[in-house]
């Protein structure tokens, strides 16, 4: 085969190649064939048609490349196509997720929705809003941050600036372990304490569970940031006779404050979407309760779940669930984007 090829193109060192447009043509062709098969066999689901198209595409690429270019090139093309197909396969659900949330969420999301509670509205009726959930979420997440951020940052300072020996090593290990705790287990832990003292659900209990989930994330990210601070800065400050604690407060922390803020904000974004511990500890409430230390509260993720689960398929409740989901995603995404913006803006300048 290679002989014949060499004879045809005596002036090049390359073997025969498929034309540049070949993969695209095969992709288009297989899509058409898949839709055809789908229509002929009466498959109404786009999932199946997509899968058929993907399989035909892979076989087509491999077959044609094997005929024209040889086995090794065919394998290479198959791998390339597989990677592209996998990418497209994964993009479909993720795009669908974002698209559905935005398009269905915008239906009822307006100022009224953001400023009213579910006080007088049954779960199956239209109307109502998420004001009580927003209040609850902000309070619970805020309190959790107030607890977790200082402890997390101080622990990271200990690990980076002071930590030697067994204590530091075991703290590092258990921070790793803590990162993997399922959120529902953190909820059960606080619940077992509440059972011991016979407490009724209240917002702050949720904050405690969220704080447990947040601490290891803050420790990890702060640790990374403190390690980025050049040692020359510390040495220069210590050489001027500044005590170590003032060096940390006035030199190390200000240098890394951007990264630390980013880490904390990403951790906040993570716990803002946690449902399971809130479900166990805060219960949910259709009324506005601004006191996180007494009585059941609502929170955004829990609201979404309850609108979905308690509504017996009512369209109005689903609309509210989507709108709340859109609000929650918007909140998390804005936190993420701002955090990354801060990270880029305040990045420690290394070198000149």
């Amino acid at each position: 085969m290679s002989h014949a090829v060499a004879d045809k193109h005596p002036s090049t060192l390359q073997g025969a190649r498929l034309p540049r447009w070949a993969p695209y043509a095969i992709a288009a062709g297989s899509a058409v064939v898949a839709v055809g098969i789908g229509l002929a066999a009466g498959l109404d689901s786009k999932v199946q048609q997509g899968l058929i198209a993907a399989i035909i595409f892979l076989i087509g690429v491999f077959g044609s490349a094997a005929r024209v270019e040889g086995r090794r090139q065919a394998k290479d093309r198959l791998a390339t196509s597989l990677v592209w197909v996998a990418f497209l396969l994964a993009v479909v659900p993720l795009v669908s997720l974002v698209w559905t949330t935005v398009s269905r969420g915008l239906k009822v999301l307006d100022v009224y929705f953001l400023t009213h509670s579910m006080g007088l509205i049954a779960d199956t009726d239209p109307g109502g809003g998420i004001y009580h959930a927003i209040v609850g979420s902000l309070e619970q997440v805020g309190l959790a941050t107030l607890i977790a951020a200082p402890i997390g940052v101080l622990t990271a300072i200990y690990l980076v600036e002071y930590g030697r020996g067994n204590l530091a090593r075991s703290v590092t290990f258990f921070v790793d372990v803590m990162t993997g705790i399922p959120s529902i287990v953190a909820g059960l832990f606080i619940l077992s304490i509440m059972l011991m003292f016979d407490l009724q659900p209240f917002g702050f209990a949720g904050s405690l569970a969220l704080a447990i989930l947040m601490m290891p994330v803050v420790v990890r990210s702060t640790e990374e940031m403190l390690k980025l601070v050049p040692n020359e800065l510390r040495e220069a400050s210590l050489a001027l006779g500044v005590p170590k604690w003032r060096t940390i407060l006035k030199v190390v922390l200000p240098t890394s404050i951007g990264g630390i803020t980013t880490g904390i904000m990403l951790a906040v974004a993570r716990i803002a979407g946690e449902t399971a511990p809130v479900l166990l500890l805060v219960w949910g409430n259709s009324l506005i309760n601004t006191n996180p230390f007494e009585g059941a509260q609502q929170s955004l993720p829990l609201y979404i779940y309850q609108q979905y689960a308690n509504s017996a398929g009512s369209g109005a409740a689903y609309d509210r669930a989507w709108a709340a989901a859109l609000t929650l995603i918007a909140f998390v995404m804005i936190l993420n984007l701002v955090a990354r913006g801060i990270a880029r803006w305040k990045a420690p300048k290394t070198g000149r």
Partner: protein, 335 residues
Amino acid sequence: MDISTKNTEAPPPAPQPNAAEQKRAARGATRPGDRIFLGLSRGSGILLLVIMAAIAGFLTYRASMAISKDEANFFTAFEWNTSLLPPKFGIAVLAFGTVVSSVIAMVIAVPVAVAIALFLTHYAPRRLSGPIAYVIDLLAAVPSIVYGLWGALVLVPNMTGLFGWLDEYLGWTGIFSWQGGAPRSMLTVGILLAIMILPIITNVSREVFRQAPQMIEEAALALGATRWEVIRMAVIPFGRSGVISASMLGLGRALGETMAVATVLSPTFDIQASLLDPGGGTFAQNIASKFSEASEIGRDALIASGLVLFVITLLVNGAARAIIARRKEYSGANA
């Protein structure tokens, strides 16, 4: 000669006070401010340890109270009747469901995530790969309840066609037979979990693949290897342990996932032979859905099942960390 002996003799006395001073300075006990600050930061480190110990202690305590009242075998019983007198409950069904849904998620997510990571590092045009990586980063932050809502209202209706298909061609295996119920089954849960953990596994794998030694890749290309051969011989062997640990992190998340499973699955307390028929349950889902009407023993029983989940995720995460630690040594030796 004289000078050199003098030089060698002179230093020894000097370091001793120096070392002692350094030790004291390192302990930070020289000034009250230092002592307070060290105390605060060490205290919060110790607080973290105390919290971990408290989690294990409290859960074990409540769990032991539940298990001592359990009339059935806690690990093998196929029922969950905590309101009976005496109560009977066991975690066999939950353990099975948790493992099955996570395994399905891993089987789907790991190859796809690796492929996407390779796509981003070795296939995609530069201009495309940056923004895509950024978006995937953001998707990792989407709350699980939103995935659950999407799974229940969008994914489930779209699964019927696929389920019919699987039943028609693979139904004879028994695993893929389908009686036509709503597709709120273990397979759907597994697919949803796969979609959820995809961004995490992709992100970590991408970092690992990006660190693959460029020189070796270029050398392979120069010898005439195709792109696939470069990846197979230079990139994947380098990134294997990284991918394994990334997968373990994803597995840890899939095992403990609560809300996405609770919204999608229609649970029953038994083991279904088929992955397509609704039924079964997972640890986390069972806690979330049984919790609100549970009696005190019921809650303790749920806490006991939570303790089992806690131990399982600890083992999985510990294994992932161990692999990462080993890789660090490996890459350090080669640096």
